[in-house]
């Protein structure tokens, strides 16, 4: 592995771990409220996988940071401006269709990203990616199937899925933004330049949305500000309030 600025690596790991943490949390909000028992099980399972991935990404991030912190410290004791997840994953669940559309748009990116990361020059990154990519291959298959089923279902389910896509699509672009951190990662062979994933992503998404009889919105506008922490949505603060409450109210406890 080439020498790499520690802070750049840390930022990259936070981006990976915060995505899975925040989306895993969002998905876990569904517990006991989904449309059918099989979905309760599937959503809990997805959330569980994502929390497991978070433990790996943030665990490594804490090591790289070298301040004696743990994955839990990073998850439960940072404020919103230090989170590095893309905006897409912090958006509210909405209806079941919006949750599954968000999941698919994320899973598609994640499956391609992890596919590249298994060849990372950083053995720890490669190892985490190898574990996670097996889970994500299943997630994307499942979320894609559901998007197709609901897009090409009834008139109502089609309408809801198109509305979900229209709402979420402007948040897709952020996953492919590149900055100097990404360039450093790419140069060191640790991670691909996100922009280089776009073509494969577009092809995958187009194939699924086509089968789902859904239309990619025309607008090219991209909402961003999550992965560099410049400007998160208002939603993240509320999510953290809930997620971090016990750790904040009773600091320094063992749980």
């Amino acid at each position: 592995m080439a020498d790499v600025d520690k802070n750049n690596l840390l930022q990259f790991l936070l981006r990976m771990g915060d995505n899975t943490l925040i989306l895993g949390h969002r998905v876990s909000e569904w517990c006991g409220h989904s449309p059918v028992l099989e979905e309760d099980i599937a959503l809990a399972n997805t959330a569980l996988d994502m929390i497991g991935q978070t433990q790996m990404w943030l665990g490594y991030a804490a090591e790289v940071q070298g301040e004696g912190k743990t994955a839990d410290d990073l998850a439960f004791l940072r404020d919103a401006w230090d989170f590095r997840n893309v905006l897409l994953v912090e958006l509210p669940n909405g209806d079941f269709g919006q949750t599954l559309m968000r999941q698919f748009l994320y899973d598609a990116w994640s499956s391609i990203m992890l596919g590249r990361l298994v060849k990372s020059s950083d053995p720890r990154v490669a190892e985490i990616a190898a574990k996670a990519s097996k889970e994500v291959a299943y997630h994307v298959e499942r979320s894609a199937d559901t998007v197709v089923g609901l897009g090409d279902g009834t008139e109502e389910s089609h309408r809801r899925m198109q509305a979900a896509l229209d709402y979420l699509y402007p948040y897709v672009g952020e996953m492919f933004e590149s900055d100097e951190i990404d360039r450093a990662m790419a140069e060191a062979g640790i991670a691909p330049d996100p922009a280089s994933l776009r073509e494969e992503y577009d092809a995958l998404v187009a194939r699924v949305l086509d089968e789902a009889t859904l239309t990619v919105p025309e607008g090219k506008y991209v909402h961003k500000g999550g992965r560099n922490g410049y400007m998160h949505t208002e939603h993240l603060g509320h999510l953290l309030c809930e997620m971090q409450w016990l750790q904040r109210a009773y600091p320094g406890c063992e749980w």
Binding site: L21, H25, S28, E29, C31, G32, H33, S34, P35, V36, L37, E38, E39, D40, I41, A44, N45, A47, L48, I51, G52, T54, Q55, L58, A71, D72, A75, F76, D95, F96, G97, T146, V148, G149, L150, D152, G153, T154, E156, S157, H158, R160, E242, M243, W245, L246, Q247, Y250, G252, C253, E254, W255
Partner: protein
């Protein structure tokens, strides 16, 4: 015990002379511990009682997601969140498995869900109590799953094959939940004074509701004679409750917590703990729908079902289109 106060559909236990040939052959099988399978002949009352019992058990697993789900988004560490997610996922799986068992008796899952939503089927009274602090999550695993196991281990020997097999499979996971729950409340009881206070609060609040899970005292349990004869019920309510108390009191003491009932005392003569009865008036209030969470729990479940109708319809419509296209292509 997730199946509670199951009203046996029966006009009283028949003597052998009163039985028809079929009934006698059926009872002989049960007496010889031969399992009844879905295709076997069975009395209509046996079938109906089992649907009630297994259905209630399934509903309990599903509604039981809510009090635990109440803390998933506030779990204090990633590991605790993962453990709780895995547990709730297991419980939903139990629900699925039990609905399938009940379906072998000629009722569909959707029909049972409808009966639940109309208030014509019930779920265990325990899930009408709130989870108010993090220690409750430990206490639920330890006490509630713990109480459920005592009943379900007994039910592994139940006469209906699919139910018995479901119990064997489910018990393994429930034991795991109970151990994890105890471990979680241990952390609280052995933690800071504030954590210990939460643990004590959880035990105080959940102790009597846990005792209620076994149902009213034997003296007041009507209908159980027939269920015992059919081996749908294997041990009496009081027997199971006593077993739970005997097993749990030393665990509370190990945690260094005060006992939630001042009457708990070891009775050397009986070889069991003495303890107070739960407030049975409260129990019947909860059963009638007046527990602290009954209304919210049912509202949540109904909303989930109704809000999800478009999803179920959509997926079904798509599956039909697929099937039609496949036929057309052949």
């Amino acid at each position: 015990m997730y199946a509670q106060m199951i009203k046996t559909v029966s006009s009283g236990v028949k003597s052998r002379d009163e039985m028809s040939d079929e009934e006698r052959a059926f009872q002989d099988k049960i007496d010889r511990d031969i399992k009844i399978e879905p295709r076997d002949w069975m009395p209509e009352d046996y079938r109906k009682t089992l649907i009630r019992q297994i259905g209630q058990h399934a509903h309990s697993e599903v509604v039981g997601q809510l009090p635990e789900g109440n803390w998933i988004t506030r779990a204090p560490t990633l590991e605790r969140k993962a453990i709780l997610l895995a547990k709730v996922q297991d419980e939903a799986g139990h629900g699925l498995y039990l609905y399938s068992s009940a379906e072998t008796l000629g009722i569909t899952r959707d029909e049972m869900i409808e009966l639940l939503h109309e208030g014509r089927m019930k779920y265990s009274s325990i899930f009408n109590y709130p989870t108010l602090n993090w220690a409750d999550i430990g206490a639920v695993g330890w006490l509630v799953d713990g109480a459920a196991i005592i009943n379900q281990v007994a039910l592994q020997r139940t006469s209906y094959g699919p139910y018995s097999r479901a119990m064997i499979r489910i018990c393994k996971e429930e034991s795991f939940h109970a151990r994890q729950g105890y471990h979680a409340i241990m952390k609280m009881a052995f933690g800071t004074p504030e954590q210990k206070r939460q643990a004590q609060d959880a035990v105080n609040r959940l102790w009597f509701p846990a005792l209620m899970m076994f149902g009213p005292s034997d003296a007041e349990s009507v209908h159980s004679e027939q269920s015992m004869a059919w081996k749908i019920k294997v041990k009496s309510n009081d027997e199971l409750r006593r077993q739970f108390v005997d097993q749990t009191v030393p665990q509370i003491e190990y945690l260094g917590l005060d006992l939630p009932d001042p009457e708990i005392k070891w009775n050397e003569e009986r070889g069991h703990y003495d303890f107070s009865d739960p407030d049975w008036k409260e129990f019947f209030d909860v059963i009638k729908g007046n527990g602290p969470c009954n209304v919210d729990r049912m509202k949540n479940r109904k909303e989930a079902w109704e809000d999800g109708a478009w999803v179920r319809d959509g997926l079904l419509a798509h599956a039909r289109k697929r099937a039609a296209a496949k036929v057309a292509a052949e």
